[in-house]
Symmetry: C2
Subunit: 392 residues, 2 copies
């Protein structure tokens, strides 16, 4: 419907929000490696102008959204009139639903990704969702909306992509459990006592994955896994007691699904985010993944598994609790976490204070059931303000 | 078409060849646990009269085939006229295609399972195939026949069931590799030197699976895995260079499939053959598996993987070589192995002589391309005769 033909092939028109981030640049790698399949028609980025300009020059999208007017003016001067530019929240929406877009890859960080996602759904655009905060903070809105408009929500996170791949060819009623694997992050071998004085630099040193700063800290606190549990709840319509977290330090098994006959399916691979990104773009088909390394389990030798300890990883417990309460509680969880992690990255609070901020924000909040978009945005803002009072 | 209705449910009519064996009795467990889904209408067994009588009394099949006239006469005396009996090869075929059978579970041991399988295919009966020698010795006939009659061949072996489960929802052209896991059998920690004087009792002590004698010896020589590679070649239409064997001593991952995007899917579970058996019977659906144990990877802690060494496991090498040559060569491989294993179990030859018998039979044979059933049977018999000359 939205696609045009080259020869007999459909070329999928892609809008990419968050093009200069880790998922963004890897999405561009995938697009570039299959020019007969994909084309970038719109994109957004935040503050990395240098990389943004490189990407625009290389991919020649029709529309580019940026955060602020200053960046917008700089780009207007730099490029000819072939590329349209916009800035601010409305430009982000314009990029998401740009004329003819088949698939929106939402790879922005934080809840700023929510409104563009809803608008894209309204426009019947398939969503490849790497922006987990969108589902965490407003999962009911996004999934109800997607169902109403019959729009596919395709996971990009390696864990959710793994589950999604394992579910192909299976029927929902036979699913007994989702098992989300967790590397344990950069501090998995440290006790809570040892976490007292860890530095930002140590926290950013993830053992398996090269990712953005926010998600790397979230891995260290295990909030990343907590957010993924909530995301899995919405993406796969699964109650929380049927979602488990399993520590697996090698990050080779990306997640598993157990069926009612006790058969378990797992999806495995070398840690390479281009895999799940490409699967979301090619789904339900698969294409060769350029310059990829074949996984040989005998080379790895051993895979390790441990039970996830909710006392060691308090954020995991907060996430399950917030998820089960539902309503605006996950919004508070997410907003408090975003503010606290930002403060930690700026050196304003210590590592374990991230948990304290979240706990206090959750304790203070009375959840509003089935909130609308405005209520979510209000709770989000109030939570951020509250966490700021804790920090300063 | 073949099924009758109870209420709104179809009851699948099952014929079970090899009812008193390991797979046979576990198939009966599955049938018994879902009486609203399955009913046993015909069966066969070999020499275990006591267990045979128990099964007939409990399941009340319409027809029972046995090996010899003596057993047949005993059973005729024992049971009323409600149950029909037969003996010999023709009775085995009659059981396989008994009136109204929807699904034939072929769980006999050895190449005796071939003709009943072909006859059942002619009669458009779905085949749940646990009799690997059928596919090894005449894979081209069985698969061509199944394709011609549009009959499903459903694997029952845990490894092939794992691959089959991983392939659900995927397209053939995206499959890059099948990875068949192997426990390594009862002697996996022994060097070739240490294998010189191992006893039958030691060989029958499999670390993970409780199975019949033949297959347990085949596990110890790794011929079982070799036969499974050939079986996988036929079941999944996959060239041999795209089938790997991976040593995995815990037998938790039952096998894996790699796709062209380097994504790997695996199927896991506690070692319990009722899982794959039931999946073949419920496919493409799943049902709860009675009295089954949930797999918790954190309880197991570690999974180990090693490269399969073709020098340590000569039978694996013979299997790949025979498979690649094709024609009647796998028939020779299988027949020589059956005779040699039988001789080992009777204490007539030593463990490592199993390999010698197979090697000499293969060396002697000139493969006939695309053999018919009679040629296969002739080569099978000649090979058995030849191996007997080596033994006595």
């Amino acid at each position: 419907m939205h696609s045009y033909l080259i020869g007999s092939e459909f070329v999928k028109k892609i809008s990419l929000l968050g093009a200069t981030g880790s998922i963004g640049t890897q999405t561009l790698d995938v697009i570039q490696s299959h020019p007969e399949q994909f084309t970038l028609v719109a994109m957004s980025f935040g503050s990395n102008i240098k990389l943004g300009i490189e990407i625009i020059s290389k991919f020649q999208p029709s529309f580019v959204a940026v955060k602020d007017k200053e960046t917008y003016e700089t780009l207007k001067l730099h490029f000819s009139s072939n590329v349209k530019f916009g800035y601010g929240d409305n430009a982000l929406i314009e990029a998401a639903i740009y004329d003819g877009v088949d698939c929106l890859v939402n790879a922005v960080v934080g809840s700023v990704g929510l409104v563009p996602t809803l608008k894209a759904i309204e426009n019947n655009i398939t969503i490849a969702i790497a922006n987990k905060e969108t589902l965490v903070t407003a999962g009911h809105l996004v999934t109800e909306y997607a169902a109403k408009h019959n729009v596919k929500l395709l996971p990009v996170d390696s864990e959710h992509s793994a589950i999604f791949q394992c579910l192909q060819g299976e029927t929902d009623k036979t699913i007994d459990r989702l098992i989300v694997t967790a590397s344990g992050g950069s501090f998995r071998d440290k006790s809570r006592e040892e976490l007292q004085d860890v530095t930002v630099k140590e926290a950013l040193n993830h053992p398996n994955w090269s990712m953005g700063a926010k998600i790397t800290i979230d891995s260290a606190t295990m909030m990343n896994k907590g957010l993924e549990v909530i995301e899995a709840h919405w993406l796969f319509n699964m109650p929380y007691h049927k979602i488990d977290v399993l520590l697996h330090k090698e990050s080779i098994i990306h997640s598993l699904v157990e069926f009612q006959d006790r058969s378990i399916k797992a999806q495995l691979g070398t840690p390479d985010m281009r895999g799940p990104i490409q699967y979301a773009l090619t789904y339900p088909d698969r294409l060769p993944l350029e310059k990829s390394k074949r996984l040989e389990l005998w080379e790895i030798g051993k895979l390790h598994f441990e039970k996830a300890d909710f006392k060691r990883y308090k954020c995991l417990q907060y996430a399950y609790e917030s998820g089960k309460i539902g309503g605006t509680m996950p919004t508070v969880l997410n907003a408090a976490n975003e503010e606290a992690v930002a403060a930690f990255l700026k050196g304003e609070i210590k590592f374990l204070q991230i948990e304290d901020c979240i706990e206090r924000a959750l304790d203070k909040h009375e959840s509003i059931a089935h909130p609308g978009l405005e209520q979510i945005q209000e709770v989000d803002q109030l939570t951020r303000n509250f966490v700021q009072t804790l920090i300063s």
